[in-house]
Each structure stands twice: as C-alpha cells, then as structure tokens.
Amino acid sequence: MTQPLLSIDDLHKSYGSEEVLEGVGLEMDQGDVTVLIGPSGSGKSTLLRCVNRLTEINSGRIALDGQDVTGADTDVNELRKQVGMVFQDFNLFAHLTALENVTLGPKKVLGMDAADAEAAGRNHLEQVGLLEQADSYPAELSGGQKQRVGIARALAMDPELVLFDEPTSALDPELVGEVVEVMRDLADEGITMLVVSHEMDFARSAASDIVFLDDGEIVEHGPPEQLFQNPTADRTEQFLSRLHAHEETA
C-alpha cells in the first residue's frame, strides 16, 4: 500500500482558551480533491493554514509524503515549496505585474533564472487564461482575474499540494464561474487540492472527497454523491439543507 500524500492525525489547535480544532484527522492521496465544508467558525480555514504552517498547531501530527512537518526542526520554507496556497483575499503582490507575481517565487526561492521563470510563468498564466494580462498590475484586474493569477502563482512553484482558502468568497457572483472553471481544470489534470469552499457546483463535479467539519471536529466525510445524497449525521443534513436554501434564494 502506498502512503498518503497528506496525512493529518489528531490535530488540536486553540486560540487562547478557545479550541478551534479538536482532534482532526484526514488523509489525501496524490490527485485527490478534498473539499472542506462546514459552518463559519468550524475551523476549516484554520485546518488549511495548519498544513503549510501559517498557523502553528498545538498537538497532533501532519505528514507530507510520510514526513512529519510539524516538528520544530522542520524547515517551513521547504514545506511551503511543496504546498501552494490560494487566499480568499487574493493577496497578490501589489507592486508587481501578473507575470512578476507568478515568477517571484520561482526566481527568489527556487533560484530559477529570469528567462526560464518568465517562460514558465507565461505558461501558468495561459493555463488560467490570463496570458494577455501578463503585464497588468493587480489593481487593474477584476476579482476573478486576480484569483486566477493567485492560482497561477501557487502553481508556478510546482507544488505537490495546493490549498485553497475560500477562493471564491470575495468574488462578485458573476465572477465565481471563471475561477471554479480553472479549479475544475486543475482537478482534471490531477493536481492534488485541499479546498475550503461552499461552491457546491465545484464540490459535486470535481471533489473526490467531501469533509464536513463542525465545531472543530470532522462530523463525516465521503464522496460527494454519498455525502450530499445520504448524509449519515443530522448535523450534516441540517447544514446541507441550509446551504441549499441559501443557494436557491441567491
């Protein structure tokens, strides 16, 4: 049996006396697309941020390729070369063009020379459909375009896993589709993705696994058809029906 790409075990995280994650476990194989859903405050984003150690855990174990990455002696920068991240608020580097946003990491961190980084960067921008905007600054892009640059920036590091922290939540409704489409393409290409999102469209069509998180613990998980059609826990069912109601009114 091959070892999972990502394995999280008994993860605990508190902010002060507030326990946000109460012993969470999760496994992902290469090529998996896992979507984390759950009410706000359930710990989804915290879980995501623990994986690349933007947030430090209190206890538990996170392993990437079988290597524990939570130890004090783990080189976080080595870890982050393997784990890309896409932010809710994009966080594109404001003083750099779209292309420069994508090439900064490869140039400064991976030591790629400028010409190679640019060629690769253009490919990544093309992959998200933004080659023509290569020389635009973030402030000149729409929200959907910004997020697609954010995705290209993460891909440019050639990571083993990409984390998506509510990638469409800050977008106007009409711009959600273009980002979801790009994410679906990535899923088809076999990019391993851990996604916090309530885009049911994406979850249904691209996810290999849905994980429902509530109050800091995983209530249930399973393939989308099973979890959406036949949730076993009452809490899941209630959450899903609220989500459906919201989708219909939206």
Binding site: E78, M85, L92, H95, K108, M157
Partner: protein
C-alpha cells in the same frame, strides 16, 4: 517701507557677490545630501526594527528616537561640537547632528509605511516559501518605499532648511555666506541679501520636491485592492 529699504545699489551688491552665495549654496547642498543619506542609512533600519525587531531592539530604537526628536537641533549640534567634540571638522559634526536627527524622523516615515502594507502581502510571500527576511525585502519594502515618498519629501525640505543652523559652528554654508556679506560688506543690504538667500532655499526645495514627484510617478503602480 520695503520700497525704501530695497535699494538698487544693494541689489547690485548682491549680484556682485552672487559667486560667494553660490559657493555657500554648494556647501548647503553637500550638507543636505550627506545628512539625508546618513538619515536614510540609519533611519530605514531603525524604522524596520520598530516594526519587525525583537522587543528589546525595538525599545532601544524607540527610546533613542524619542530623545533625538525631543532635543532641538541647535542643542544637538552644540553638544556634539562643543560638548563632545566628536570631530574637529564642523562639516562632519553638522552632518552627524543633522543626519541623526533626520534618522529619528525618517525612521517614523518608514515605520508608518511598512505598517501600512497589508499583512496579507507578507503572508502570501511566506506561502511561496520565502523566508521572513526575503518576504519583507522583496514584497513589503518595495511597497513601503513608494508610500514613504511624500513623508520623505517633507523631511528633505526640513533638513535642507535646517542646514542653516550649522551657522553656529561656522560652516560656510548659504546662510553663513549671507551673514558674512552683510556683516563684513554692505550692512545696508541686509534685506536684499537675506531675500536672495531665501530665494535660493526656495528654488532648492521646490526643485527637489518636483524631482521626487517625478521619481514617484516613474515608479508608481496602480493603486487598489490586490
């Protein structure tokens, strides 16, 4: 009143001695540039320490800044020159006094600019595996420097004009040259001489501000959400 005081003969005296005033102007410019550079070299790291430094380092920098900002420049110059005699060169002493005082103010310009850059920028840079230092250097600092230009323009103007205080330790800068012309030359020409001196200060500050505006426009990036 002014009409009586502004005599043609006195203006001719000023024009005749324009070479001397320009010589003083060169010293003023040299003193300004040296002081601003010293202020930048010390002030920028000081501002960065106030934002990113350890508690201890931050406290030290803050306290030194408070003392420097709370002491009149004239007093700083006199302490350094007559009190501590840190250098026999009046120019060097004035540069250090103006430079350290400017560093104390420039540190606040840069501190504010660094703090104004959204935390998400640093976080995104860390997420592409940059070290904290790399992230600050390649992502935060370039944005902060752009935002510090208006404050820096102010500081430049202030230092330029405050070089005149170096008159007390006898550097042949612009104001000293004017003073010498008035005392050792034509005492009726005081108003004309000091008006000419003011004009030179004004031209210098105006030209510098315009140049920095140009520089700022050249490096400007479109503003907005990222």
């Amino acid at each position: 009143m002014a009409a009586i005081l502004l005599q043609t003969v006195d203006w001719l005296f000023v024009i005749d001695n324009m070479g001397l005033l320009l010589g003083g102007t060169v010293v003023t410019i040299a003193l300004t540039v040296a002081s601003i550079l010293l202020g930048f070299v010390v002030g920028f790291p000081a501002g960065a320490i106030e934002v990113y430094g350890s508690d201890r380092a931050r406290r030290v920098v803050e306290q030194v800044g408070v003392v420097l900002r709370g002491t009149p420049l004239l007093v700083i110059i006199m302490i350094l020159y007559f009190g501590l005699s840190i250098s026999s060169s009046a120019f060097v002493t004035a540069t250090i006094a103006l430079g350290l005082r400017s560093a104390a103010y420039q540190s606040q310009i840069f501190r504010g600019a660094l703090q104004s850059v959204d935390d998400g920028q640093l976080e995104a840079a860390r997420a592409v595996a940059m070290s904290r230092f790399e992230a600050i250097r390649h992502v935060v600092v370039p944005q902060a420097l752009r935002r510090s230009v208006p404050g820096f323009q102010n500081e430049f103007t202030i230092v330029l004009k405050d070089t005149s205080i170096a008159i007390v330790i006898g550097i042949g800068e612009l104001l000293t040259t004017g003073q010498n012309l008035y005392e050792g030359g034509q005492s009726t020409a005081a108003l004309e001489i000091f008006l000419a001196v003011s004009l030179v200060y004004f031209v210098l500050t105006f030209a510098t501000n315009r140049s920095l505006d140009r520089l700022s426009d050249y490096y400007a990036v479109p503003e907005g959400t990222t």
